[in-house]
Symmetry: C2
Subunit: 768 residues, 2 copies
Amino acid sequence: MNQDYIKLDNWSIIEEGFNPKRVKSSESLFSIGNGAMGQRANFEEHYSGETFQGSYVAGVYYPDKTRVGWWKNGYPEYFAKVLNAPNWIGINVEINGEQLDLFTCKKVENFRRELNMKEGWLSRSFIATLKDGITVEVNAKRFLSLDLEEVGAIQYQIKPLNEDAEIIFQPYLDSGITNEDTNWDDKFWDTRNVSHKNHQAFIEAKTMKTDFHTCTFMESKIYIDEKSLIIEPKFKADATYASFCYKHSVKQNETYTIHKFGGYVVDRNHEKSKLVTVAKSVLKSATKKGFNTLLEDQKKAWDLIWNMSDITISGDVKAQQGIRFNIFQLNQTYLGRDSRLNIGPKGFTGEKYGGSTYWDTEAYCIPFYMATKNQNVARTLLEYRYNHLEKAIENAQKLGFKNGAALYPMVTMNGEECHNEWEITFEEIHRNGAIAFAIYNYCRYTDDYSYIPEKGLEVLIGIARFWHQRANFSTAKNKYVILGVTGPNEYENNVNNNWYTNYLAQWCINYALENIGKVEEEYASDFTRIMNKVKLSTLELAEWKAVADNMYFPFSEKHNVYLQQDGFLDKELITVADLDKSQRPINQKWSWDHILRSPYIKQADVLQGFYFFEDHFTEEELERHFDFYEPFTVHESSLSPCVHSIQAAKLGKMEQAYEFYLRTSRLDLDDYNKEVHEGLHITSMAGTWMSIVEGFGGMRVKDNKLSFTPKIPKQWDAYSFKVNFRNQILKVEVCQSDTKFELEGNTELQILVNNLPVTITPNSLITV
Amino acid sequence: MNQDYIKLDNWSIIEEGFNPKRVKSSESLFSIGNGAMGQRANFEEHYSGETFQGSYVAGVYYPDKTRVGWWKNGYPEYFAKVLNAPNWIGINVEINGEQLDLFTCKKVENFRRELNMKEGWLSRSFIATLKDGITVEVNAKRFLSLDLEEVGAIQYQIKPLNEDAEIIFQPYLDSGITNEDTNWDDKFWDTRNVSHKNHQAFIEAKTMKTDFHTCTFMESKIYIDEKSLIIEPKFKADATYASFCYKHSVKQNETYTIHKFGGYVVDRNHEKSKLVTVAKSVLKSATKKGFNTLLEDQKKAWDLIWNMSDITISGDVKAQQGIRFNIFQLNQTYLGRDSRLNIGPKGFTGEKYGGSTYWDTEAYCIPFYMATKNQNVARTLLEYRYNHLEKAIENAQKLGFKNGAALYPMVTMNGEECHNEWEITFEEIHRNGAIAFAIYNYCRYTDDYSYIPEKGLEVLIGIARFWHQRANFSTAKNKYVILGVTGPNEYENNVNNNWYTNYLAQWCINYALENIGKVEEEYASDFTRIMNKVKLSTLELAEWKAVADNMYFPFSEKHNVYLQQDGFLDKELITVADLDKSQRPINQKWSWDHILRSPYIKQADVLQGFYFFEDHFTEEELERHFDFYEPFTVHESSLSPCVHSIQAAKLGKMEQAYEFYLRTSRLDLDDYNKEVHEGLHITSMAGTWMSIVEGFGGMRVKDNKLSFTPKIPKQWDAYSFKVNFRNQILKVEVCQSDTKFELEGNTELQILVNNLPVTITPNSLITV
């Protein structure tokens, strides 16, 4: 059974009752972030039970020396680890000389945690009875400010319930932290200086090797029953630690409160030498506003986000909570403000997988950000890859490619490959295609072609060159083939002619050729600039075309389907339904060879191609392929159910679509894969959004217009979402009986609903 | 260019002149061993330059916790490391208070090292001038006794040439040693006790985890100009070290000599608690004989070995030295005395690869030991696998097989798999076939069928069960297929229908079926015993047969050859000759994906199958396959040239055969692969022997008779070898003009020479 301790609620994630076994899972689920930093829901006060401490600063990583059993030529020297950064949330609490620690105190009652997604804060409350008999009520609330993105604020309140007590708040900074994920137990942080002034403290630390300089800071204010209290704290420090000690004799039923403001400033945004000065000014802004005003600002900021990106579902709290959790976490992870950042698979909720950028960004995340933010955010994500083009060319060179062929990395922080599993690193090359597809998808959605002559075309050329060189001519097949790849379905390795990869390769070349032509005709000066740089010959273009025109696609006459790869039909084709349940999940039960020779599919592969290029295939073809492949799909990747939900909805298989929807939207809340303690699956959350908007809503861009084919699961009364389409906001509400459209904007919008044209007038409600 | 500093000599490996850059390579090349232990040619006296210290005790290993980048289900928890054992050869030398150290002394002249293969000893001599101006002549000689296999002896002599000198010999034992190959820098040895009595010292140490108890011991005797000298030495010790200090004022031109006896006793052969007592008695035997008598015994023992196993080549010193080096090293590594030991790929010359047993033993080594020792030695090697059958069944179970299916490990020390690279560990399953083939090969050569009813049949059944379960029926091909394997050519991974693997699988099942029938008919009580144990049903046998009868073999009509695997012809078929030389060796120049999708073959794969089962194919078929595959073969495995030499000789391609012979026989001496500093390639040395006996000599067993088709490279005047065939020794000498046969034995031997019957009478010379 999946876990089910999270209370159902439309707007909040709520846990009631204290269970040490759930602490690590809840630390993931209740994570908070603001795009610039994020943290797991670790307790402020000391906790001696099992915990996974994590506070992460966007763009700060460590190149950990590669660890493998058997070295293969071409492996990168390091893997970019997501770094646990210095702790600034810590507040040790002493009550009559006894440390408050939920793991060791005599009794914990009324424990409640809430992640309020509407307003963007995390709270925790409990009544604890300590070993010496004193009972205290604790209320803690914290958030990472969306407005002041370098700052977080904590309100920590404690009230002795049965007697007076001498209570110490000891807010601290600690850079003596470690990573859970480390290859060689290297030291990741080098603390340069610990300092303080009045109620402020600072730890300057830099990362080893990467030399990211950071200043972690804090300042606290103390209150009794909301009345400010002046205490001159004792300051204590060592080489990696700074704390203040606020001691006070608190009367029974008085509330002793600390407001702690803290966070990070980093040299990505400020001069190295001025980090402490900047930190002081950040603290000044934060404390001037104070906790309550900052919190009000936070609510307003989240209100703006929700106003644009919320999806409502009525009649199904489980589904409603699921989609909001996904949208909330995506916005906590990435807000599109900084072109140097990206969307890591675990966001700010854990260390696993490392790196910040996978093909997930292009294949799953861009549609969400494009529709719920604006085209600049999507363009920023495209530019991230443009900025890494030189590194992608270098990466391809390391693998023997030449002449400007570009292979984007499987996993990266800065454009350099850092993954080291040959069957993935060297062979899961379809990632290159998703990056080209995202350019196409962006242009299609935004109608902003300017990106291609300015930047995109160079990326498309580098990618086309790669595919041209990576394919080879098979005299046996009299076609071009692509040998030795791993498709999106990572339960096949080193296969020949993965259909999805071959299809993407062909498309990438054709799309590059098409755009070279268009830019030549319409953007002459860009064309000249680019051609001077890339030096494309007509011979090379002819060779590209030969590859694209003669690409081989494995096909079964018998089943009338494209084959996932050569030899797929040699497998023992037992469906998942007929597979003994005790054997699942196969990635935990079977050895790797067993998985590889089985027909089971980890995530959509051929169907992923049908998703990207649905216009190239009839619905009947889609159905045939869905019916052929879905029965072999075990969905053991977080990225699988969303695509299947979309395809099932398109085919009118609404029960299946709904099941896949629940699976994708509540993957972490219900912990389908028994791994939520390691962190959340952030990138697949964008797939959840797609499964409603593109799946149930059927949203597409067709003939340069938004198009919908609205469907609704029978479990729901209605659902609604908004999309920003070319700077107009369209709200769509789908009920069992009809669909309503409402436009915020200035000009009429022509859309298609069930393939019929509909005109939407600004600020009026259209029902179809 | 390959290295060429080894002097050409028929019987010795000789290095002249001291070059610190060659020290590690020479430490490998001059290694000595006696089957029970072995050591690299490290200097006795302190050496501060680059060195790779190694002393190894057969059967003593450490299960080092597995290190991988990405864990796969089914990986073993540990890798059995070859362990550097406590040092007993060390003799620090001080001359007038200055330590003798070839790396730092002022001048080294007349440096000469000799590994005398005829007599089985290693010597080193040099004249060194120390910093303070004193010049000494040093002569050192050592060997590991074949007669007293727990003991080695060193004679170390020093003569001051230009003045009197106070000289200290400080023989020591040291268990504070480390491994070069370690995953986590674990401590491998736990020293339990350091003790001494009179001139003897002992270090008792046990390996961590495996708890192998050992006692390393030493005793020394001192001489001046061969006259015994009584010195009461000072004893020094710490927790992992014991030394004696023999100080003497040596006159100019006097020779100061130490005889050091040392070695190991281990609890595989003795009671744990009595190791020191045993060591004392071993030392007593050794010192009683003394260095010179032990050395005489050593010469006699090697004489016996050479008398049986020598191969002479006249007219080609390079070739002669090569084959003797191979035969010598094989005998140093394994003598067939202990059924718990096996033939590690690096023998006692390095740590690389770990484990002691690979499929090399069955595929390459057994023929050598069978023909140059006797059938008991070969049978002992077969029994090694019989003794590991239960572990092979457990290993298969871990990978999802059942019902007694056995998968022998890729690498092992004790029957448990310890390799951890999925494409090898889980997929290089052809190893299972070589183990069955060795049983067949043994019976064919020895005519001793008794092994099969006694032990072999159970192994054959476990292996047949594995193949039956590992194959699956392809409805597309209407045949049984074997998916996801790695063949002997490790430059292909996870391929479908590797021809060699499929062929072996079919053969294994048929051979098991044939022997089940034979044992049922001829060995009723064995049959009953075995069937009670394995519980074979007729249904299961029918299923086996269905698999064998309907096995799929990839074949190209166009080329009229079996294909190495499905899809081989989709590759870009550029031959090695047309490959830019700068790209080689491809395993150093190319990334792994590049290698995998290339057509290049690391070692014989289809041709390995044609070697095992040559009777199944015509010579014309062999030639066609040789001509098709050899041009794509890069021979980047030590196991490749020997098989190609044999096949080329068979096809009369004598120039190629000779080239391959040189490459296999001088692989280490000439350091073709630039890695000799890591140790020698022991198992492929047996392939070198095969390339003369089976390749040039054309020896086979046909119709229960020895058969020869003698050929001779034009570079040679003559060559000769001996084989023990069914307890008769046949000497074969091949000249350019004719071939001579001579039989040591009692009964006439019918043989075939060029397919014509020849009768050899004992003790008379027959010329054909």
